[in-house]
């Protein structure tokens, strides 16, 4: 699976790392929903670190689409909401 961290590039991730990263992603979603900036920053950092640790850099000259795209490091909740183009709540 290919994961892109915006502003950083693409990583190849083994599928067995996915469950753990998915659970961090859920924390991230909860933090965005509740507007908890500290929890958000912690979850985003954990997610990025997890991807970097479990992944290897995807070939820079490939034209492959990523399966998953993550917000850039240092992003705030507001920036992520803006990227998601909504009011911050996950739609039904």
């Amino acid at each position: 699976m290919i994961v892109r961290i915006l502003g950083e590039g693409q990583y190849d991730i083994a599928d067995d790392a996915l469950a753990r990263l998915n659970s961090i992603d859920n924390d991230l979603g909860v933090a965005v929903e509740s507007g908890d900036e500290a929890a958000f920053a912690a979850a985003l950092t954990a997610l990025h670190d997890g991807v970097r640790a479990a992944g290897t850099a995807h070939a820079p000259d490939s034209l492959d689409e990523s399966d998953v795209i993550l917000p850039p490091s240092g992003a705030s909740i507001d920036e992520v909401r803006e990227l998601l183009g909504d009011d911050g709540l996950i739609p039904g």
Partner: protein, 272 residues
């Protein structure tokens, strides 16, 4: 739905919208390539802009560091002539300058970070654009319009994601640079308005320098007077201080000579 799925979907839908426009899918290749090279120029300009801002902040830090050194020197000088009030004023200003410097250093760090990120983004995009160019030529040479569709979609979507990423990086850098420029402008104004810069004028345009200079010229006059007194006094009494009296005499004599003609004495009083 988690954050990453949503983020991914949004990027996809943007890339797909771009694809819908072309009639012959092969035209899409050229159109996309043109936009890629435009984006590459834009990211290069972005790197240059951030570098310009960074240099400006570096320059300001240098200027403020010079001011800080100068103020330190003034404080020492003021203590030397026993003017604690002036020394305190100089140190107070120095502390304001020091705060400003550490503020600017934080900004400098951020700008360096942005510059680095954009440079890397430029390299990544550049690699993908080159890959796209090769793929584009292959697709055009190998496939009919109908056959090419899927491969074109893949190539365009793949690079579309990179372009979205780079576009975002450019925007983040622009936002940061704009914030910095507003603040850098304020520092320039502060330096130009004299609140800080006056302190560094050579020749002592600022109040502390003026006072210190006034005091030192006053003490020059005093020591000159003392020398003159001791010269005339010592000369009358003792020959052994003749060397010192002569030394003082070289500067003292013309004055004494002038003292006999009243007009020449006037500017001397004025200066004191």
């Amino acid at each position: 739905m988690g954050v990453w799925q949503r983020m991914t979907m949004i990027f996809r839908s943007k890339a797909n919208k771009a694809l819908d426009r072309a009639e012959d899918p092969r035209e899409m290749l050229d159109y996309s390539y043109q936009r890629q090279t435009e984006l590459l120029s834009k990211v290069r300009r972005g790197v240059a802009d951030v570098a310009t801002s960074r240099k400006r902040v570096e320059l300001q830090i240098n200027q403020l560091e010079q001011q800080s050194t100068k103020l330190q020197g003034q404080a020492e000088k003021a203590i030397g002539v026993d003017r604690e009030d002036l020394a305190r004023e100089a140190l107070t200003r120095k502390s304001a300058v020091t705060n400003q410097i550490s503020d600017l250093k934080v900004q400098l760090n951020q700008l360096q970070g942005e510059e680095e990120k954009l440079t890397l983004a430029q390299q990544r995009l550049s690699a993908k654009v080159e890959a796209f160019r090769t793929r584009k030529e292959t697709i055009k040479a190998t496939y009919t319009a109908a056959e090419a569709q899927t491969r074109i979609n893949e190539a365009v979507a793949g690079i579309g994601e990179e372009m979205g990423d780079v576009g975002l990086a450019i925007q983040r850098a622009e936002d940061k640079t704009a914030q910095m420029q507003a603040r850098a402008g304020a520092v320039d104004e502060l330096i130009a308005s004299g609140a800080l810069d006056d302190m560094t004028q050579i020749g002592g345009q600022d109040d502390i320098s003026r006072e210190l200079e006034a005091m030192s010229s006053q003490s020059d006059v005093e020591s000159e007077l003392a020398r003159l007194k001791s010269a005339s006094h010592g000369g009358a009494i003792e020959g052994s201080s003749a060397a010192g009296a002569l030394g003082a005499g070289t500067s003292g004599q013309p004055m004494q000579a002038g003292a006999e003609e009243t007009p020449v004495q006037q500017p001397e009083e004025g200066r004191a």
